[in-house]
């Protein structure tokens, strides 16, 4: 459950990340591949070496989608509809991996924001990413 204050905080944080989307996104992905090697199996068609062109582009896409959702969290099911279909019918990424990625995103944010990544900010974003992942997996079955 997200309070109004948390929703505003989340929108504020993610808006600030838009200019560094490819850095944050590729960092989160690199962390995930290093820490949870099984996740690499979904990327055999891409060059996922640190800061490769593929990784920067892919990381940017993900962060921009999360940032867009953050602007109106109450409408997540609407704004994510196309991505829901993509993940359910084409990508079919096991949803357990969403948790792994979310964790690595939080670690990336902590490295990027340092002290600004307070427990309150951490809690709000963790809740948002959980909600985001849940919506993304909705069309799976």
């Amino acid at each position: 459950m997200l309070s109004k204050r948390e929703k505003d905080l989340i929108a504020e944080v993610w808006t600030k990340l838009i200019p560094v989307a490819e850095d944050i996104g590729s960092d989160a992905l690199t962390r995930m591949f290093a820490t949870f090697p099984g996740t690499k199996t979904y990327f055999s068609h891409l060059d996922i070496s640190p800061r490769s062109a593929h990784l920067l582009s892919h990381g940017e896409k993900i962060v921009l989608a999360i940032a867009e959702g953050a602007q109106d969290i109450d409408q997540l099911a609407v704004s994510l509809a196309p991505l829901q279909t993509l993940h359910a019918y084409q990508l079919r990424i096991d949803p357990t991996n969403f948790k792994l990625f979310s964790h690595c995103m939080l670690v990336a944010l902590a490295a990027h924001m340092g002290d600004d990544f307070t427990p309150v900010v951490h809690a709000a974003i963790d809740k948002y990413l959980s909600a985001f992942a849940a919506v993304l997996a909705e069309k799976y079955r």
């Binding site: 690199t30 591949f33 290093a34 670690v107 990336a108 924001m113 427990p119 309150v120 809690a123």
Partner: protein, 147 residues
Amino acid sequence: MVEWTDFERATIADIFSKMEYEVIGPAALSRCLVVYPWTQRYFGNFGNLYNAAAIIGNPLVAKHGTTILHGLDRAVKNMDNIKSEYAELSVLHSEKLHVDPDNFRLLSDCLTIVISAKLGKEFNGEVQAAFQKFLAVVVTSLGRQYH
């Protein structure tokens, strides 16, 4: 037996040699209590945990956070035998404290994030992987004696 690479051993030794226990321990435990509020169930006698500010400023939380972090020292000193190092503590957490072992994972996630905030870029993907592997072994060992 867990196999550790030279890089992993060096990484763990390095992180803990520079560890500020009285800062990181409290930060990790209080973060856990804020981000996963249901973990507060184990701290009914810690006084005011009413909101984030109260938790972060609570001296009992701070003291306990430091204690827990020092609990990792025995694993750092004996990385080749972490399972046996924690056998007794595992029994304690199961039989006496009745702590759901999933909480060990929650706390270790918070510790990872606190370390990441502190070290920034230096805590890159490879370092994170080594640190999380270490914590995963500790977490498994602490849960090992539950039945």
